[in-house]
Amino acid sequence: MEERKVNELITALVDDELPEVEDRELVLSLLNENPHYSYNYRVQLLTKNIVTNHKNFVPAPEKLKRKIIRNIKPGIPVYKKIFGNLVDSNPPVYAFAVVAIILVGSLFLFTTLMNTDQSHVEKRNNFFITAKNNFYSILDGKINPDIVTNQPEILKSFFIEHGVEYNTPIPCFKDWILVGGVVSTSNGEKYAHMLYSNSDGKIIYVFQVCEHYLNNSNSLFVTDELKQTIQTAKYFCEKNEKATTYLTKHQGNLFAIVTNDGKHNAENLLAELN
């Protein structure tokens, strides 16, 4: 057998890629007899080990992973699907929430996460408009929540554990049940979102951000005009045929509250918030 062929078989032996018994036996006997082949075998083995042990493995950047996932399915960030587990383990508590969620389709699409073009990612989004767009996406049933719970303390802890860096008071609205929440990420900043539902299957979506945090945010802003309105009138309200959106301040946070419940009036809702 020519030397070149033997050397290739030696390499295959190193890689455990010599399935034929005859080949294996032949190579092993040549290794025993011939120091030149034996040397080649050890060089191959040593080099393979060096490469394997010095991989210098660089994982894909998190930013790239997020970007790819957003691009593959715009509007659906990577969220753990814990929804089912919670419902299974606590049917009485979550039954209402489940019904509500099925009725409205599932939730939460965050426009701050939706931009696929890098040039857009760098831009800041209008907090008020973002909240409205998120709500419309909720109505379209684009995504499940990160967590389903009717316990404010659990949701609060969830926000903290998932990197929300500001205090998140969880409002209670009469005749509405807390359904769950989501933590979104935009330009590395984490934001808290909450969802409520009532027996009619209507929903309230709350997007809250600490005012100080928002003022220094790289991803969100509130116009001076709206700030001024909230300062003087305590809240701003905009109604259209799909939803009513309120913007107000509560415990140092700016709240965007969006609902498709036409019966609700601003005074009641904001009174309950306070």
Binding site: T11, T47, I50, H54, N56, V58, K67
Partner: protein, 188 residues
């Protein structure tokens, strides 16, 4: 035709976990993290577009690598500046000269090469011609079988063996030089 959400869920479960491996390979092929980012992103977008064509139960990682290779060939290879080629004849000469005259071949001691830095090994791999670099990465870093590598490079298994053999010889020569320069190699 499968529901989009179902496809997405399957894709997330099966394809996304291989992103680190693809990025590593891309980085070694294009040598620049921005280009590697773009290459991996384009690969995943293509893969998702054709996800319903992926045969379930087959090797998803190998399938993704093939898409990456095609993307690389179509879009990146021309742009990428090839690193300095290794003259294989020179390597052969060095390799032959470096061979020990006795069985006391101290320069094969693993400890000598253990002192090499990861960056030095990466540099040595990067210096290999593309065909040789590819088989070393796929075999020794990614752990693909010869058959998978053959499928990847569209060559018979014999070619994989041959390239791998020569690639490791070249690498050994490079690494031996690095080790010598650092004073680790005991003799030639």
């Amino acid at each position: 035709m499968k529901d989009n959400n179902l496809l997405y869920e399957e894709f997330q479960k099966e394809a996304i976990p291989h992103m680190d491996a693809l990025f590593n390979f891309a980085l070694r092929m294009v040598g620049d993290s921005d280009d590697a980012n773009d290459l991996v992103q384009e690969t995943y977008l293509r893969a998702f577009r054709f996800w319903d064509k992926f045969e379930k139960g087959t090797n998803c990682k190998a399938w993704l690598f093939r898409i990456l290779k095609n993307t690389y060939i179509n879009s990146y290879r021309k742009q990428t500046k090839e690193p300095n080629k290794v003259d294989y004849e020179e390597v052969e000469n060095f390799y032959e000269n470096a061979k020990p005259s006795s069985t006391e071949d101290a320069h094969l001691e693993k400890e000598i090469f253990d002192n090499l830095l990861d960056d030095e090994v990466s540099r040595a791999i990067s210096s290999l011609p593309e065909d040789f670099r590819t088989v070393v990465i796929l075999s020794d870093i990614e752990g693909f079988t010869y058959e998978e590598i053959a499928d990847f490079i569209d060559c018979p298994v014999g070619t994989v063996r041959s390239r791998l053999h020569r690639a490791r010889k070249m690498l050994f020569t490079k690494l031996h030089k690095y080790a010598s320069e650092k004073g680790y190699a005991l003799n030639n």
